[in-house]
């Protein structure tokens, strides 16, 4: 694989130059830290830049117009919304105005939710970290699982007919004409803009990533593989549910938590449990719930959390069952 020369360099540094014994915990931790930090940052840069660049071709306004054109809650509508959730620029700060904008444009509630679930869950940081730590196969599985949850949860919420549990004032709002989007950027401007945006994201998360890998490295050195299998392995029926409950309040540190999650799987935590934890961290974040409460009555908010939470737990068990 691409990182073999780097592994060789790190091996030489830890075992030959520093003269640490390959079997000592300190050597193992240091080797892991050096190798993983560089590998993860390279993959993060690649993924974040690629997604930011793709996103420069999309905008929430365009996505809204596309979804509004195909009114009616169909599986295709939910699928399209979930897919657009990945490529449309999104931040949880804008969940409320986006939601109102979608509803006002006549987009069905279930389709709106498919978008709102997939947008934060399948994000560039999570994908970059998953690719770096678990490999591209797991990153792809994560995308597929995230899309499935967004589509199914959106369809379920749509079928439940909960329109009256959106705060009334939302339906009174009329979205006015916007102040224009400016000129269309050239390819060069897109590339430069995406690069700058990627650096911004990296500046925001790098410290968490390094700390996360640091703690992961300590675990790598001192906690033997499989040590936690007894508690959180595929055999423990409650592990997925507990992982989801722990994941909900942990939002802002998703970048720092993943290296730990990866180490936990090495220590014996089942992969499905780890993925469920990851999804709970990204899709059901506490700050976003507080914002959504402004537009959703408690009952709909509870249904949203319940349906998405159930979906995540189901995916977690499915994986624990498949990957044994």
């Amino acid at each position: 694989m691409v990182f073999e020369p780097w592994q060789a360099a790190v091996d030489w540094f830890t075992y030959s130059l520093l003269g640490l014994s390959p079997t000592s915990p300190a050597a193992s931790a240091l080797n892991f830290f050096l190798f993983d930090t560089v590998k993860i940052f390279i993959l993060l840069v690649v993924i974040i830049f690629a997604i930011t660049f793709i996103r420069s071709f999309f905008s929430p306004e365009k996505t809204r117009a596309w979804l509004a054109e195909r009114k009616g809650s169909t599986v295709v509508g939910n699928g399209l919304a979930a897919l657009l959730g990945i490529v449309t620029p999104f931040c949880s700060c804008s969940a409320v105005p986006l939601f109102i904008g979608f509803v006002e444009a006549g987009i069905p509630l279930g389709v709106t939710f498919s978008f709102l679930i997939s947008a934060p869950m399948v994000n560039e940081i999570a994908l970059g970290m998953l690719w770096g730590l678990f490999g591209w196969q797991i990153a792809l599985i994560y995308i597929a699982a995230g899309l499935s949850i967004a589509i199914v949860a959106g369809i379920v919420i749509g079928r439940l007919g909960m329109e009256q549990y959106v705060e009334e004032y939302v339906y009174q709002i009329r979205v006015g004409p916007s102040g224009g989007e400016g000129e269309k950027p050239t390819l060069r401007e897109r590339l430069v803009g995406s690069w700058e945006a990627s650096l911004d994201i990296l500046k925001r998360i790098w410290l968490y990533v390094v700390i996360g890998i640091g703690i992961g490295a300590l675990m790598h050195g001192w906690i033997p593989a499989g040590a936690l299998a007894e508690y959180a392995g595929p055999g423990n029926p409650l592990s997925v549910i507990i992982a989801v409950l722990i994941g909900i309040p942990l939002y802002s540190n998703a970048a720092g938590i993943l290296p730990l999650v990866s180490e936990l799987t090495r220590a014996g935590v089942a992969l499905g449990t780890a993925l469920a934890f990851m999804m709970a961290v990204t899709a059901l974040s506490l700050p976003e719930m507080i914002l959504l409460r402004k537009i959703l009555k408690p009952r709909l908010l509870a249904v949203f959390i319940g349906v998405v939470g159930t979906g995540i737990i189901a995916v977690g068990y499915l994986f624990n069952w498949i990957v044994r």
Partner: protein, 79 residues
Amino acid sequence: MKVEIFGNGCAKCHQLEKHVTEAVREMDLTAEVVKVDDIVEIMNRGIIFTPALVIDGETKVAGRVPSVKEIRELLTAGA
């Protein structure tokens, strides 16, 4: 010049406000800086992606926090 900051109270919106205030002070501009955090008003203005920076009625930035340097450039272009 009228500079408007749209956001419904998230961390990024506060940061945008800080950057704008700093840019305006550095440039010694006489600009009217308005913070709009009422969601109804935000929607009425056609903004569905916050935080947003609007200069003289034209949406310049939406959904991200531009640097102080970028805001200075936008303000210079608008002056």
